[in-house]
Structures are given as C-alpha cells and as structure tokens.
Symmetry: C2
Subunit: 242 residues, 2 copies
C-alpha cells in the first residue's frame, strides 16, 4: 500500500489523527518537499512518527516513481506532503501509476492553502481558476496567468495566486514585480490581498495597495489574491483588516 | 478565546493534532451540525476530547452568536465543525462578530470537500465558482446555479456542486432530478461525476451518464461535478474509473 499523507497547512500538528496512525504503520516514510514549502523539519516529523524519514526529490518522485510503486507492492510506504496531497498534480500522477500497476494507494487528506485562504474573509465558493507565478528566467517569461486573472475578474471571481516554490519560494515582492511588469489592464490599481503563514501563529493578511503590501515583511510561503466582485460582507471584512 | 475547530472530511480521525489539543484545552465544546453532514457521532467526539459536547443549532449559531462570543470573552470555548470551518460563510460571520467585540478567535483548519474532490483526478486549480443545489419547495425553486454551471463550462472550468444539507442531506438522485428539469442547454448529455464518502473507506466515485449515476447507491454527503475542459491526464484518469 502507498499512502500519500498530507501534512496540512502550517506545521506538523496540522497532521490528522488518521495521518499519524497511517505514518506509524508504514514500514518506510518519505518526505516530499518540492511541491510545497515545508513548515516543519524532517527531525520533528521523525520524532512525531517515531521513525526515519527519507527526503525525496521531485525528480525522484516523477522519474523514479516506478520504484516507489514497486516498493509499495511489497510493503506499506508513506509519502509525506505539505498541505493537501492532491493540491499538486504530481501526486495525482503517482495515484494513476499505482492504479495502472495494481498497487493500492490511499490519500490521507489535511488542510490546504486552497481553503486556508478563507481566513481573509472572501467566500471560498467565489474563487475562479487558481494560478501560479513562476520565476522568470532570461529566456522563459511565461505570462499566461495574467489572462486568467483578467478572466476571473471579469466573471466577478477571486483569483488565488500561488507563488513558485523553487529556490526556497518566491517572495511577495518578486511576485508583485512580475505582475506590475505585465499589468496592461491596470488590475493593480485596485487593492489586493497578501497572506503568509496561513493557519499559523504568524499569520499575516493585508488588504492593501501594491505599495502597502511591498512595505510589509512577509513570511514564506505566501500567496496573493486578486479579489473579484465583493459582496457587502466581504468588503466589510476586508476593510476592517485582519 | 473562541476556537473554530474543523473536524475534517470524513470522520473524527480527520481532526488535526492541533485541533485535538485545542479542543482538550477548551472549557466548553459545542458541535455545529447544520452546515455540513456529520460523519461521526457526538459520543465519539466526547470520547476523543474527554468532555461533554453540546449540540448547537444553526439558528442558535446565527441568532444567538452574541452569547457565544460573550462566553468566549470569559473562557476558552470551541465550536466543532465538519470539514473545514471556513467552507461555510456562517462561520466567517462568527469570526467577524468576535473581531467587532474584541474577542480573540482562532480557526483550526482541516481537510475539506473543496480539496477532497481532487480524488476524482480533476485538477483542483481548474474549478470555477462552487454552487449548492437547495431543496425545492412549492413556492421556492431557485435555479440561478444553473447559469453558474454554464458560465464555468464555457470558461472550460469544472463546477463542484454541493447538495443541500437540510433534511439529512439531499440525495444524488434528487439533485439530478432538479438539474434535469432545468437543463435547457443539454449539459447532462455529457458524462458527469458523482462522489460520496470522499476520504473514507466507503469512498465512491463515478464518471458516467445521468442514468449510470442514478443506477448506483450513494452515501451522504455526496457531491456532483460537471467537468469543464479536460486535459489528457484528466480524461485518462476519469475514463479508467476509480
């Protein structure tokens, strides 16, 4: 059996009782740190589960998934993933591979940034497509996500903007600079939201202008939200501050 | 302090370690069963937290929230909520009320149907606005949600359809009959998804025609999904079945 064990939103105590039990039962535990920024340490996880936790690279997870699936055929193994395991498509591929190979796979869910952002006061039902801003490189400057924000905005929907998790995670400032460079429709003239440390004691949320957001310190991981049409409750909640 | 303690997706073991600790610390625990269908029993929760759990009606939560907030000013109280507490706006109103009254409020997150539906293989990033189908009454037959499904579909986005939680929860069959009665654009000619017991041992998922879905037994709570544009991975995952 292959268990995908979600660690949850902010630290190792967001793990569910079910996840703890599954992890303790597994003969081998792997930690996947690539699709999300880990808010705990491998040491804390080893203490929690009472066993060694081996770090696995994304490359291994994607290129070497056959080995993991074969290992899961012989014994119970668990892969620990920050947030909810199914918020990243990499893990769905692993589920598909298990299925093809006839190996049992079970997902243990936990809290995710996709619902944790409800802390800001916006209705979770009114979000449109979620986007990710990737780091730009000399010859790689994708900007298709901007059209998605516009499309959501025109439909009155909020856009959750995730930030690249590479290089320790993109900062709020870096993300805003990329957005400012392509904002031909003037989306950033309106206030937007920045959130970091969602669900933790250090949670920070600000509904403000780009300049106000840039002037504040943000932890990692952080996300941005471009609000769509606000109802009265949402507007009041945002304006009163967090 | 008022704790909103999310119980998670499928049973009491989806509670997080953080939620368990907070609940044990609270002097008084309430259980809110209205915005979601409880997948456990008050008795199991009392055993887990080692104290009495008092059931609270939605009416009490909404009309009598002032009393709860005042109680939370004097001592630590917790409100237990199925799924993630912020997936229902009722709970955000309570957060707003705490804030207005200067009473501390903390949300302990857990897994939610909003992310749990990732089990079907659709990308969670590609969902549009979420809708709920309410029970129809003689003089109350709202159908605005149909336009939302159409709008999502035209934008290529998937629509998560939640079902009314009143009267023990709307069945998949009841929901499909309402949809069939208003489906002037022929959305239901294409296959759609039904899911029940997401995250539990009894999880059922079917990608099929309305007739195929109606012909199967479904637990409660259940949800439907009208898929938008499918990418190759999604199509293959859906076609291979769950």
């Amino acid at each position: 059996m292959l268990y995908l064990i979600s660690l949850g939103l902010s630290d190792e105590n967001d793990l569910s009782l079910k996840g703890l039990e599954a992890g303790k039962k597994c003969e081998k535990l792997y930690l996947e740190k690539y699709t999300n920024i880990l808010n705990t340490t491998p040491e804390k996880l080893e203490k929690l589960f009472g066993k060694k936790v081996e770090e696995v690279e994304r490359k291994n997870l994607e290129e070497d998934s056959g080995r993991l699936v074969e290992e899961a055929r012989k014994k119970d193994i668990g892969i620990l993933v920050s947030g909810d395991a199914l918020a990243a498509t990499t893990h769905l591929s692993l589920v598909a591979e298990c299925r093809k190979s006839g190996v049992e796979c079970r997902i243990i869910h936990s809290s995710s940034i996709l619902t944790g952002v409800g802390e800001c006061g916006l209705s979770l039902y009114k979000f449109g497509e979620t986007i990710t801003i990737p780091f730009w490189e000399e010859n790689y400057k994708p900007a298709g996500f901007y059209e998605t924000i516009l499309k959501n905005k025109k439909a009155g929907l909020h856009t959750l903007i995730l930030l690249d998790t590479k290089k320790g995670g993109m900062s709020v400032k870096e993300a805003l600079e990329i957005l400012e460079g392509i904002d031909k429709e003037g989306l950033l003239k309106d206030k937007l939201l920045a959130l970091s440390g969602v669900g933790s004691e250090d949670q920070r949320i600000l509904f403000g202008t780009v300049e106000e957001i840039k002037g504040k310190e943000w932890g990692k991981p952080a996300v941005l939200i471009v609000p769509g049409k606000l109802n009265e409750f949402e507007r009041e909640f945002l304006e009163k501050g967090n």
